[in-house]
């Protein structure tokens, strides 16, 4: 068992049910008070390919994806070799499988335990399936009540024929009978009231909670399931979702709704964000709020659609033509997707500009058990139009001008992506251009973003800087280094643009060196920080592309070798 909990990989051909087995196991564990993370890995096949449920079961919430698994349960060995990079076994890991002889060479060293899944499942019920047997077997190993497993399975199969539900119960019970010698986690003992959700669900919920009532989007992996989850609740809240013909339409529909005063949202991934960039620029110039969640995947181009990476930072920061200041945020973990997305929605509205939220496939499609997440609560206060003539783009002290919406009487104006004067009338004059550029920059720079721009933890002369999902590996590495006597500070940045440079300097006060950690190839955060900051603290870079998640081991190794005396 690894230090950070028990890690279990459940694998099988697509359709064999490895993922649903993992999901139910996590839910049962959570119901018993445990904490945990479930990451999913798929092959490129749509169905009939390989799939893996990668679980980390712990009693705390500092989740990092496991680097080595304590337990592998293989329902079959189909295309298992494709997981060579992603599923490494701990020394003396246990492997539960049907035919150890078929296991690929690279896991031959493990401790095998043979289980005749197919036969036992068939014996339990004519419709019996191996994955339910596995669920029972693992439930017993985790000391979970068999009844809770059966109930979860029944809920999940609620819309299916009775025979399915009977078969599931029979399978689970049969699995629960099996006595195997397997590694055991510390017993579950979290606080009650936990939530169990994916980052995509959390972001959707955060957006709804912050007032989003219009969504237009075009399906794309790994953002589709965010939208799919959101559609139902949105409608129940009286909102609307439009499945657009493409991303160009999606972002412009969102701008239309937002212009109409209805908080608007879209979600996409890299290729879609690229298509949207012209019209995100329109949101900047016309000062129309909109929130765009970009669930990053491997790039460039179509890249690796089903795997995680943090390589869209550059386009999120700099992908608009012209001088186009806007907001970029990144949630730091699954629970934080609620807060950060909500904050982004509120900031977009308060500052009348687009907010891009950089989630990623790891956050978005992993499921975690977490304490009740923090929600963003909007600052009160609307910009009130000054007396006299209404000017949509009036120059004000804050840079923010009162935004009328259709229906408001006598504040008619035409929003424009052409450069314009205070009234909104197109203008090519240098004075108007300079004033409106200043205004759009100033409203961001002058805003008080408060404490939430980052999570800063720890002390010490060495700082680890990161954004978004790499916070998990960074925090775990910092904790590990602290345990071994090296005090480390971690700064996980949530607000990337505008970057609170003064606050960042404060956070690094007393540091002699800093390592910028990120999951991409070209060290995008590193270069960005260097472009924005002075030179008080020399920065070094640790940048590694996906698809395998960053882990504390590699960070500790790099730091020990390269940055400690």
């Amino acid at each position: 068992m690894t230090r950070d909990g028990l890690s279990i990989a459940i694998t099988g051909a697509g359709g064999a049910g490895a993922i649903s087995c993992g999901e139910m196991l996590l839910r049962a564990w959570a119901a018993a008070g445990g904490r945990g993370l479930l990451r999913k890995a798929f092959g490129p096949q749509i169905r009939g390919g390989e799939a893996a449920a990668l679980l980390t079961l712990t009693d705390s919430e500092d989740y990092t994806a496991a680097t080595h698994y304590d337990l592998l349960l293989a329902l079959d060995w189909l295309n298992f070799e494709r997981f060579e990079d992603e599923i490494r076994l701990a020394d003396h890991a246990a492997v539960v499988c049907e035919s150890p002889g078929d296991a690929p060479e690279f896991i031959k060293a493990a401790r095998f335990q043979d289980v005749a899944f197919k036969q036992l499942a068939a014996d339990s019920h004519p419709e019996g399936r191996s994955n339910m047997l596995a669920l029972g077997l693992l439930g017993r190993a985790l000391e979970l009540p068999v009844e809770s497993l059966c109930e979860l399975a029944e809920q999940r199969l609620a819309s299916r024929p009775q025979a399915y539900r009977d078969a599931a119960r029979a399978g689970i019970e049969a699995g629960f009978e099996l006595e195997l010698s397997l590694p055991r986690p510390a017993p579950a003992r979290g606080e009650p009231g936990a939530w169990c959700m994916s980052g995509n669900q959390a972001a959707a919920y955060g957006a709804l909670d912050a007032g989003i009532r219009f969504v237009a989007a075009y399906p794309i992996t790994p953002a589709s399931d965010l939208l799919e989850w959101m559609a139902g609740p949105l409608e129940q809240l009286g909102g609307h979702l439009v499945q657009a013909e493409d991303e160009l339409a999606a972002i412009n529909m969102a701008l239309g709704a937002s212009f109409g005063g209805v908080p608007a949202f879209t979600a996409t991934s890299g290729p879609g964000l690229a298509l949207m960039s012209e019209s995100i620029g329109l949101a900047v110039a016309s000062e129309t709020p909109v929130c765009i969640v970009n669930v990053q995947r491997g790039g460039p181009s179509t890249g690796i659609p089903t795997k995680s990476e943090q390589s869209d930072l550059d386009i999120a920061l700099h992908g608009l033509h012209g001088d186009a200041p806007h907001l970029v945020l990144a949630p730091l973990d699954i629970g934080d997707c609620v807060f950060t997305t909500g904050w982004a929605v509120h900031l977009a509205a308060a500052l009348q500009t687009p907010a891009i939220v950089l989630s990623d496939q790891f956050l978005g499609q992993s499921t975690a058990v977490v304490s009740e997440p923090r929600r963003h609560r909007a600052e009160p206060g609307q910009v009130v139009a000054s007396d006299g003539d209404y000017l949509r783009y009036r120059l004000t002290a804050s840079g923010v001008s009162a935004m009328a919406v259709p229906g408001d009487s006598d504040r008619r104006f035409t929003a424009d992506g052409l450069e314009h004067n205070e009234r909104g009338t197109p203008s090519a004059s240098q004075t108007d251009h300079q004033q409106q550029l200043d205004k759009r920059r100033h409203k961001l720079d002058a805003h008080e973003f408060g404490e939430d721009w980052a999570e800063v933890a720890g002390e010490g002369e060495l700082a680890l800087l990161c954004f978004g999902s790499s916070a998990a590996a960074v925090r775990a590495a910092a904790a590990r280094l602290a345990r071994s006597g090296t005090a480390v500070r971690s700064v996980a940045i949530r607000l990337l643009a505008p970057l609170p440079v003064a606050e960042l300097h404060d956070a690094l006060e007393g540091c002699s060196r800093a390592l910028v950690v990120e999951q991409n190839h070209s060290a995008q955060l590193f270069h960005y920080l260097r472009s924005q900051m002075g030179v008080d603290v020399p920065l070094r870079s640790y940048a590694r592309p996906g698809p395998v998640p960053l882990n504390p081991d590699e960070l500790c190794e790099f730091i020990n070798q390269e940055m400690l005396p």
Binding site: M197, L208, G238, A257, F259, G260, R412
Partner: protein, 274 residues
């Protein structure tokens, strides 16, 4: 109550950038007339457009307006109308904006049938960028250096495409007859669902030959067609210079209404709890 507004009250007073003699002036006048005739509230009407000479129109009316980017006006308008069904939403633009870069949104707006009106001010040319061929340009129009032998491509038939993709209301006007445009536009706005008003609007600067349209354009005598096959036959056969309401076959606008259980944010949070 105040006296009803006159057409001129629907204009903003901003001087158009258009060339003297441009057909788009007629459309502006027709828009103001139709708004006055329907006594539309200026506060509750939004004009949405893309980019082009034609797309400058919203700033010249006194209503709310959104002058977006090239080709995306229809998307903005649909989002707005779905979010704010209480508003009257009119989208407009040119043949380049609507049929070239914006072609995909045109297809899908015709299918989707949101209750907005779409006016295309078709001058068979890109006016704003100084006279290149558009999708509706005649195959042998050789006045652009970009296509010195003419585009060589079969002109796009707006009505035929609108019909094939499901537009329920299709009419054609001509900038030489602003009263007719105003009349058709009033009907279009009143139609529940997507209405497509194709206006032949001459570009005097880059296509001076379009002054000949005067002699060719004629009003359709017959009743609007209601059968799609018949309409298709008409749109394939016709010259493209017949004006009036050509086709009308209403169907329910989008989004449809669905019965459903309302839920609160707390209910929704509940779904994420263990």
């Amino acid at each position: 109550m105040n006296a009803p507004l006159k057409p001129k009250d629907y204009k903003s007073g901003i001087k158009p950038i258009w060339c003297p003699g441009c057909g788009h002036y007629s459309v502006l006048n027709a828009v103001a007339k139709a708004m006055a005739a329907l006594e539309l509230s200026r506060d509750d009407t939004v004009l949405v457009s893309g980019i082009g000479c034609s797309s400058r129109l919203p700033a010249y009316t006194d209503s709310y307006g959104f002058h977006g980017v090239h080709g995306r006006g229809l998307a903005v308008a649909q989002g707005l109308k779905v979010a704010r069904p209480d508003l009257t939403v009119i989208t407009l633009g040119g043949d380049g904006d609507g049929f070239s870069i914006g072609g995909n949104h045109f297809l899908h707006a015709c299918r989707r049938n949101v209750d907005i009106t779409y006016i295309v001010m078709d001058n068979e040319v890109y006016g704003m960028t100084k006279g290149q061929a558009s999708p509706t340009t005649p195959i042998d129009w050789d006045s652009s250096k970009l296509t010195p032998h003419g585009p060589g491509v079969r002109p796009f038939k707006p009505a035929a495409v609108a019909l094939a993709t499901g537009a329920p209301w299709i009419a054609r006007g001509y900038s030489g007859n602003p009263n007719q445009i105003a009349r058709l536009l009033s009907e279009a706005i009143q139609h529940k669902g997507f209405s497509f008003l194709h206006v032949l609007s001459q570009c005097i600067t880059y296509c001076p030959e379009q002054t000949d349209w005067k002699a060719i354009v004629h009003e359709r005598e017959a009743e609007p067609l209601t059968d799609a096959s018949e309409a298709a036959a008409l749109f394939f056969a016709e010259s493209g210079f017949e004006t009036g309401l050509l086709y009308h076959q209403p169907r329910a606008p989008w989004p449809p209404q669905h019965e459903q259980q309302p839920a609160s944010l707390d209910d929704i949070a509940e779904r994420l709890r263990v």
